[in-house]
Assembly symmetry: D2
Homo-oligomer: 301 residues x 4
């Protein structure tokens, strides 16, 4: 046989679940998009179409809804851990499960009806999406959490100079520019075993987000690489349960518009916010001695 | 000649401008996407390709940047008024100008460097986009402002019953359901002449947004139509300078998941958030006696 | 009462239906996204939440699927006519129905199994989407069909010169440029009554698409307005059953890259394809004497 | 120092270049979106903000345009090879370069002006995007090409049965269902050295696409996994220069609509095309003995 099967997996993507908890007139909601991925002994499904041993993806979807009822959703991470454990321990053919979750944030509408100013009315909040990916092989856990789409901008305290100039370089050095990016972050917890206590996932998320913002704001930037490193280091240094963070930062260029043709000066006042092309800076920051386990992604060189 | 030219217009869409104001170490930013549309005596551009009288769209783009410097951006509406006036009064062939603006909201990063806890670091905030459309024909103004993408959800206090049942009806009546929508609102100001004082645009926007949220939260809903009407009426009643509002509300269905096959009850706890299809409710609410001038859109029956 | 209800409508958007016809081993498919909009006596749904007289949007969805079986889908237009007629004639409160349809094109996979080289395997084809909107008030029909996203480019035979220069003009005149756009077209049929024979919708669509392409290709363009007019006129002139066409053409700018800093000349060889901002040219072309009934859209000045 | 830098890279994403070749009145165009990624000795840019050794991303953008002129674009792969070689060999700090290219397809408008029925008018064609990623470390090449968004559907010859049933399984076995997917494929060439002749990239692409379509159409499918394997194997078997292919196939569910409530039977005629959730099947197919080098992506379990 000239060809063979390599790495393979299957599952259900994009299961939308909203869980409501009612405490009298005060409600709480969790709004998740869940994806389930299973890997194991599925060679025959590929070679001969035999589905024995294969749990339907429709069943994995049903399980998400049933677990939302039976186990509740304390946090995205805890919900993912329950699901991953279930698939690996209940299905002999499944050797490894991965649960990816996006959590959509909601705030309570202020002054809405109900006890003490709270109630049952909510408005979507924040532009970023909280994400998590939980992996389990029956023995060890790997939890990588993070966020997508946290858009930030510094209107000063950013330079870019001292770089290489070759035949194709036309860029002018900049000593006061706008620095803007959409933060994509993934941080990995060292927690890996049921024998040790799991992190407080929500507290950890809040700390990481705050540290990303603070490091971005407080770094006088000589390059986006430098800002990236400080952002990553601040997250690792701020939470002893994290070993590694991967940051992917587009450089959302803001070009100073040339107003001279109109007889006007532009003293860092009017900028063109460009779409494409954009810079793209990606790096992993590690706790010294920790392994690098977050894949850099298919785009890595 | 068997064919003739009908209504026509031209312009530039998607001009991205960021304006920075520096008060010492404390900066302020405005981030807009501006589109310019011009109409007037442009028949010959269509019939013969004669461009005499036609201001290039590239020039309208330049004007946006130059005005951001020369006039500043006090609010989206005031900026649009300056631009529309300029094109109509300076170009003989332009009889009518329309300026559409999307304003992208930024919050200051808390505890960032600078005087008094403020500074130069910003994070994009809110999921909705503030929009405005300013029209001017040399005599009268028409300002229609609003918002897109304000996503809200009530986890109770919504029913749907008493409707018509025909041969194709299978829907069960619901006495306690989730009601969720993405508010698209457009409100029209009665202000139309330079002879009278213009509204305080920012205050008006804040009031309208708050009234939309409050009416959504406080209405015990028998139909999304009823909620829509109360939302619209609350905006008109809350601001004497508004004459008309158009609301377009998708009904973002949340279906109670049937957990009975798994031996579980689902007492309004676990919902499937559906994408498509969705309901779509659209209506205009008018101050009694005011004309209806906001077009219902090409989708109107 | 200080506020009143204005124009209103409701319905279901985004109903996805695929219809398969089996002729032995040779299958045929139609793939549509259907939206239903109803208007009529629905004031009380808004004022008091009374749903008597209101057909649920869920029922309109069911009707789409049932009609796909009962009536089949000869063409998007014929299917929409069946649906619109049904809602207006069967529901007393419905005075007007609008059916919007997007048709997704599929080609047969060549050399696939089945009789005579055809079979049951299909690949999505074309980048444009065929669209139609059917309106009915119980007496008269209005059918507006068209397409979205037909992307075309001429690599020469386009100029832009002779325009107005003001203080803000920096654009250089161009005597040989790329002209590129994404055609959005809506054409209106004069057919309005069951007493006369309806057009052959599929033939008409094919002619209109071919005429748009040919006029774009064959026009030596002095402005995109001129090209637009010729495209519109060619569609009206080519089909006696059409009275009006509305075209919305973004000017997808392709800028000649300045290679002089690298010691290279750029003789109309290397272009930067820009995203934003883009020009936007919109106009209606009418058969002489016909009324203009296609709304120019909310963006019109 | 508690944290250290891990894998890192930087570059420019989304460079849009259109190259026109004029053969008299007959023109040819190439339309690419190019991204450049560089890795090497850039630790100090992260640690201290020192940019010495760092080529600006703006320069990489300029290089794309200059090379489009100087070297031309024979194919996406050849263009990427030229670029990667340039960055690695001309910049001492760059140890590895990756060039990702999306190629946007255009067809000639039939019967357009010019010699022999060809000319200068083009229409975007096909829904899929051809992609390639070229990696170079100064010694060895790795070329992974493929496509995104090839949407296919079989209206019969697909079953799904014989799977595991657990407490959460409600899916009914299906013996005649629609099978539909959006093919995402990445195939790796064994070519790695300048000492051997490179593949004919365009011919190879056409073969791979045709083989994917044929295997999808001709496989009587017992599972999407089986179809995937046959598609992958057909590409590897059909081109001796390919060692590995990674396929990612969403299962675009088409549900048979229950028409029984309306007194209608549905004999595999009317389907609901669902958006979310969808199945997702991913696997690598290898030439026996070849290494697996295409990363399965961050979503892999």
């Amino acid at each position: 046989m000239p060809t063979i099967l390599g790495q393979n997996q299957y599952g259900k993507a994009g299961v939308r679940v909203v869980r409501v908890i009612r405490e009298g007139a005060v409600h709480h909601i969790k709004d998740l998009t869940v994806s389930v991925t299973l890997a194991g002994e599925f060679d025959e499904a590929h070679y001969s179409g035999s589905n024995s041993g294969l749990l339907p993806t429709d069943t994995t979807k049903n399980t998400v809804y049933a677990f939302a009822k039976e186990r509740g959703i304390a946090s995205a991470e805890e919900f993912g851990i329950e699901l991953a454990r279930h698939f690996v321990t209940s299905q002999p053919a499944v050797h490894r499960a991965g649960i990816r979750i996006e959590e959509h944030g909601w705030s309570r509408v202020e002054n809405s009806p109900g006890d003490g100013g709270t109630g049952h009315s909510f408005v979507r909040t924040g532009r970023e999406t909280r994400v998590s990916r939980i992996g389990y092989d029956g023995e060890r856990w790997q939890v990588v959490s993070g966020l997508d789409g946290l858009t930030v901008l510094n209107s000063t305290d950013s330079e870019f100079s001292g770089y290489v100039k070759d035949r194709y370089t036309t860029l002018q050095e900049a000593y006061d520019r706008i620095l803007a990016t959409d933060v994509r972050a993934r941080w990995r917890y060292s927690w890996a075993s049921d024998a040790t206590r799991a992190p407080d996932w929500d507290t950890s998320y809040g700390q990481a987000r705050a540290n990303l913002l603070r490091a971005f704001a407080e770094t006088y930037s000589l390059s986006l690489q430098q800002t990236l490193y400080r952002m990553g280091a601040s997250v690792i240094e701020g939470d002893g349960e994290l070993d590694e963070i991967r940051l992917s930062l587009p450089n959302n260029h803001h070009f100073l518009v040339d107003l001279a043709p109109f007889g006007l000066t532009n003293d860092h006042e009017v900028y063109l916010a460009a779409d494409r092309p954009h810079g793209l800076i990606e790096a992993t920051v590690l706790r010294d001695g920790a392994p690098s386990l977050i894949p850099p992604g298919p785009g890595a060189v």
